[in-house]
């Protein structure tokens, strides 16, 4: 046994992934941190950029427009039906990049870990992150780890940033909704928020509600491939469909008319919303998008969306109208009318 070769290794023993816990040395920049990266993050996120071990990732860029986005994730609980903070952190940022019509390419990931966090859970989250990234066709090319004292953070926070490339001719933005445009929705509302709230409140339903957390870049690529003139794309996350539509009405200086009966909400989600006192239109989604397009193109785009697994239930739910007051109005199921408003206050903390 050669002593020199042993001391050159970053740590003498492997991490105890069964019972070990993160301690302050794992964020101190020394051997322990190196070991955490080598044994947990690098294998899970496995790609040539990370393998080089530099403090940054270098890659070639193509001509044209690039987009960049960032998002922090503080969801509680960390593991929920249909996903965990790792997969959510990939899906969230991939979707924010994709809503410009872009093809997401690279992500960064930053971890703020509370002292005492189980290594097994960290490894599970890293693996889930790697799987989500591979499935979405993106690479986590650079990252950072910090450990804070017990009580200074709640278990684990994750930040991701992403960049992507916009195909030529695509100009998607929240200020491009025009009166007469059709509003398309890719699927059912409220699944993610209700899955988390029900889990947190200890509610059990006959059918388990599962988060819809998913990467939408594949669906967007199919849509952009057949139609470059999509006016607006957006994923209705925090604040739900209501917040998304109000944002767009303000950006584009228009109003909207929706049809409540056309908006898909799963019966078990609706039931849980009744119990929890929530409006499904205010509840977060993590795998759905809305598209606003000229009315004459709606049928063509709808067919493309329905052909994709994440757009099977896509449907037209309303239209953009001229309205200086920028109201989002909705014909109710029983034939009345109401406003769909922003949510006031904080009904659902730490949903993503």
């Amino acid at each position: 046994m050669n002593v020199a070769s042993r001391s050159a290794r970053p740590a003498s023993r492997r991490l105890d992934l069964a019972a070990g816990r993160v301690d302050l040395t794992h964020g101190a920049g020394g051997r322990a941190m190196q070991q955490l990266i080598e044994e947990i993050f690098r294998p899970a996120l496995d790609n040539p950029f990370l393998a080089r071990g530099d403090d940054q990732a270098a890659f070639d860029v193509s001509a044209g427009r690039m987009v960049m986005s960032t998002d922090s994730f503080v969801v509680s609980p960390l593991f929920f039906p249909g996903g965990d903070i790792g997969s959510l952190a990939v899906h969230g940022t991939v979707n924010d990049v994709a809503m410009s019509g872009a093809r997401p390419l690279y992500l960064s990931a930053g971890f703020v870990i509370e002292e005492g966090f189980p290594l097994a859970e960290l490894a599970r989250i890293a693996r889930s992150m790697g799987e989500a990234a591979r499935a979405a066709g993106v690479a986590v090319v650079t990252g950072d780890t910090k450990v804070v004292e017990r009580g200074k953070a709640d278990r684990l926070f994750v930040n991701t940033a992403g960049i992507g490339v916009v195909p030529a001719g695509v100009e998607i933005s929240g200020d491009r909704a025009r009166p007469g445009d059709a509003i398309l929705l890719s699927g059912s509302m409220g699944d993610h928020g209700v899955a988390i709230m029900a889990h947190r409140a200890g509610l059990e339903f006959e059918t388990t509600i599962v988060s819809d957390s998913a990467a939408l870049n594949g669906l967007v690529a199919d849509m952009v491939a057949v139609m470059t003139d999509i006016h607006v794309l957006r994923d209705p996350t925090r604040g739900g469909l209501a917040a998304t539509f109000n944002e767009i009405c303000h950006q584009s200086n228009v109003g909207m008319r929706l049809d409540e009966a056309a908006i898909p909400v799963k019966p078990e989600v609706l039931g849980a919303c009744e119990l929890l006192g929530l409006d499904p239109l205010n509840v977060a989604n993590e795998g759905k998008l809305i598209a606003i397009v000229p009315a004459e193109d709606a049928a063509r785009l709808l067919a493309v969306m329905r052909a994709h697994p994440l757009g099977r239930d896509a449907t037209v739910i309303g239209e953009v109208v001229a309205d200086p007051a920028r109201f989002v109005r909705m014909a109710t199921r029983i034939g009345g009318e109401r406003i769909v408003d922003w949510l006031a206050g904080e009904q659902l903390p730490r949903i993503c």
């Binding site: 409140a201 009966a261 019966p267 078990e268 609706l270 039931g271 009744e274 006192g277 409006d279 007051a325 109201f327 109005r329 014909a331 109710t332 199921r333 029983i334 034939g335 009345g336 009318e337 109401r338 406003i339 408003d341 006031a344 206050g345 009904q347």
Partner: protein, 376 residues
Amino acid sequence: MKHLDEYRDAEMARRLAAAIAREARTDRRYRLMEFCGGHTHAIFRYGIEDLLPSNIEMVHGPGCPVCVLPTGRLDMAIRLARREDVILASYGDMLRVPGSKGQSLLKAKADGADIRMVYSTLDAVKLAEANPGREVIFFAIGFETTTPPTALAIEAAARKGLTNFTVFCNHVLTPSAIAAILEAPAIRELEAVEIDGFLGPAHVSVVIGSQPYEFFAEEYRKPVAISGFEPIDIMQSILMLVRQLNEGRAEVENQYIRAVTRDGNLRAKEAVSRVFELRRDFEWRGLGHIPYSALRLKDEFAAFDAERRFDEPYIPTEGIKACECPAILRGAKKPTDCRLFGRACTPETPLGSCMVSSEGACAAYYTYGRMREAAQ
């Protein structure tokens, strides 16, 4: 949850709307008060007024527990929360209600007061068990629906021998509030409110039964229809009231027969009477002082009464002068009659309690119905 669809059926709603339009006489007005904030919320959320003829007017009542709590009681809660060693456990909808001098529980929390949001009374008891060195005060508010859980929590705390759990009791009684509205024109200086009939509360009536309303129907000649919370329930109850008024009847009718009986929930009522007794006087926002309109803990549970444990005086406070919450809670004014509505007072920056709670009339108008005002 298929059950819900039956009560939100568009075809059924159309048929009921047609029946109401056919039977409502054109030579009179129907001013119907929905007592309960839950009904107000549903009326706006489903746009029920769009399906009613113009001579049927829904008047919004005071049945919103957050709204009727006077500023002075909220100030007491804030002072309790700011005490060293106190954890104040509260339902979430109280946190943003404005107290005097721009205070709120949310602001006190940001200043460092230990205020925890709980979903149930038993969570507050658990909090006391988990923090033996701290005083846990449960901020109890609400009508007859939330009173039984508070009673059970106090009994549970007594059984467990907890010495650090108390309740700041603000439970109030529905029949007293209805009586106050009906008597207002005769014995008070408040604006007279003409009400032709009442849509009776759903959940409150599940507990107290339909019997307590019989007095109002007889004594004041006002028909009552106890109504469920779904849009079809409400439409059907409106039709029942129109028919009673047309026929000159003033009875208690029960539309919500799938949940309400004449005597209510006896076990819940027993739990309440074991722990609570009538309070001689309680101030309501909008309705003023109403004798025997609220509950306090019985002497045998005095150890669990935050008002007896902590020496916090009740200091009556005037709300913001321009705020019309008091008149709105009596049904004397509509939210849109208030000059603060939608301008200085919105759900993001509420100045009055009716704009905070989702059951408040101002919040319902603003959130679901303000396009009507804009169109006028």
